[in-house]
């Protein structure tokens, strides 16, 4: 589903964020990406959502080389990727309903269809009764769930999450991860960047670890066993 081939990224100014990164996340897989802050997690996610382009190497989604995607096509690529952000990226002056319906409005769905799908997405994240509220009146965990509802409302085959549990307590974090598991079981590929190692340790999922821009482990939750983060 997501395939990196010898990908390096150097920012203007010479800062090397990624060095020869190689990995492949299969279709229907759920995987974590971890590492210190500054290790290159965000850069890696930005390469997938084409917010940045690699300096060297190839990034592929579902066998399509992203370097062939033109500027105008980027918008259509992002419709296939549900993205979840630590900072939520919600429109604070629009209701929860309007926020979640945004991807569908952009795609030009009928009103009826939009309302049906938004209701379903809000039901999944347990916020059906908050549809008319403004995001500002919701708690951090609830805002994150609005972001998740928006990411899944147009049923993308791939979910990307950047520190989705960043500001949440362990119990809420677990709830969020359980949501991702539900989507994964429905066939969606899920790729989560997090530095919350405790959270990863409680689950047996594939974990990719970045350190100074290099991929140092790629396997089943063995980061802690190697004592990398002590």
């Amino acid at each position: 589903m997501i395939k990196f081939e010898q990908v390096s990224k150097t920012y203007p100014g010479g800062q090397q964020a990624l060095r020869k990164v190689d990995f492949h996340v299969e279709q229907g897989e759920m995987a974590f990406l971890t590492g210190h802050s500054g290790a290159g997690k965000s850069t890696l996610l930005k390469l997938i959502s084409i917010m940045e382009r690699p300096t060297v190497g190839r990034v592929m989604i579902n066998g399509h080389d992203l370097s062939a995607i033109t500027r105008k096509q980027i918008a259509y690529i992002r419709r296939d990727i549900g993205m979840i952000f630590q900072s939520h990226q919600l429109l604070m002056d629009k209701s929860v309903y309007d926020n979640v319906s945004l991807p569908l409005v952009i795609e030009g769905h009928t009103r009826k269809n939009i309302s049906r799908r938004v209701d379903a997405a809000l039901e999944m994240v347990g916020l059906r009764d908050k549809a008319r509220s403004l995001p500002i009146t919701l708690s951090g965990g609830e805002q994150q769930r609005v972001g998740i509802a928006r990411a899944v409302v147009n049923r993308p085959p791939l979910l990307l999450a950047d520190e989705p549990t960043g500001n949440l307590d362990p119990k809420l974090s677990m709830e969020i991860i359980r949501l991702f598991e539900d989507f994964n079981q429905a066939g969606v590929s899920v790729f989560i960047a997090t530095h919350d190692l405790g959270l990863i340790a409680r689950m047996k999922y594939r974990t990719l670890t970045l350190k100074n821009g290099q991929m140092i482990t790629d396997g089943l939750d063995d980061a802690q066993d190697q004592g990398l983060f002590r």
Partner: protein
């Protein structure tokens, strides 16, 4: 269709909608965005009014000048059509001789109408209008000559033909002086031509200014909504989808500015008409200012909307592209 995932359909295609319904949805979508943009103007009435005012007044000035130039043109056309020739008769010509002249002139094919104002009538009229009144009674004799007013037929009313007719009339025995003021008419025409050029120049300069002002206003709007635009780009909005509300804002600025210009032009013309009436009364001329007709109003609105759209297009194309999620 999705670019990355075969078989994953996109947007409205997932739900089977007929062609007619899709067209209908296209229009309802646009209508919704247009109404939203109008609503946003409404929510910041002061800022919106300032921009609309700039547009309105910028269009008012050239429009008013245009109406005035057009009116002057019309008036001079009337004068040209009338192209009256005044023949001042010799002092010694008797009433009977004058009548004889009139009879002769009426037979000329070039002449449509002749009128005779005797020396006494001239004096009476002069007394009435000049305000000298009784002072004139002290004159030993009437100094004014009898006058014959000749109106040429429309065929002979043009400056050149009227000049030939005048030369012919001057040769009549009874005529002392013949006058046709063609020169000043021609000067007036030249003057109107210059005025027209100036109005055009002024309009072009003002229109440029308006486009830049609207462009700048929309630019500020775009920057104010930077966060929202970033979010929209993150969830897959195309540039043209993001641009649309701003273009509608430009459209509304144009329409409202145009309507405002129309109202102000009407007020200005009413005011000019009023002061013109007082001025014209002095000369005993009735004069009606022709205002704007429907097609001119329509054209004005069209220009205004065009300017609004041009301004927003200018800034939307530059700035929406520049805002990218980082």
């Amino acid at each position: 269709m999705s670019l990355l995932f075969k078989g994953r359909s996109h947007g409205a295609e997932t739900v089977r909608v007929g062609g007619l319904q899709r067209i209908f949805m296209f229009f309802t979508d646009h209508l919704r965005q247009a109404v939203n943009s109008l609503g946003e103007l409404w929510r910041a009435p002061f800022a919106s009014l300032m921009t609309i005012g700039v547009l309105g007044f910028s269009i008012t000035l050239p429009s008013t000048l245009y109406v005035i130039v057009k009116n002057t043109e019309q008036i001079s056309e009337q004068w040209q059509q009338a192209s009256e020739i005044s023949l001042f008769l010799e002092q010694g010509v008797s009433e009977a001789d004058a009548q004889q002249l009139l009879k002769r002139l009426r037979l000329w094919p070039e002449i449509a109408e002749v009128a005779y104002i005797s020396a006494d009538d001239s004096l009476k009229e002069f007394k009435l209008l000049s305000g000298f009144g009784d002072a004139l009674n002290y004159l030993p004799s009437n100094p004014l000559p009898a006058v014959v007013l000749v109106v040429p037929t429309s065929k002979h009313a043009s400056p050149r033909a009227a000049q030939i007719l005048l030369d012919k009339l001057r040769k009549q025995r009874e005529v002392d002086v013949g006058k046709l003021d063609i020169e000043w008419l021609e000067k007036l025409y030249a003057l109107i031509g210059v005025a027209k050029d100036l109005v055009t120049l002024l309009a072009v300069l003002l229109f440029f200014a308006v486009v830049l002002i609207i462009g700048n206003t929309i630019r500020l709007n775009i920057l104010n909504k930077k966060d929202e635009i970033v979010v929209m780009k993150l969830v897959g909005a195309t540039d043209s989808f993001i641009q649309r509300p701003f273009l509608y804002t430009g459209f509304w600025y144009g329409l409202l500015g145009g309507l405002m210009a129309w109202v102000t032009v009407l007020f200005v013309l009413l005011w000019v008409d009023f002061s013109m009436d007082a001025f014209m009364a002095e000369y005993q001329v009735s004069f009606n200012l022709t205002s704007m007709d429907m097609s001119t109003l329509f054209f004005m609105l069209l220009v205004s909307i065009g300017l609004g759209l041009a301004g927003s297009l200018l800034s939307v194309q530059r700035h929406v592209k520049d805002i990218e999620p980082r």
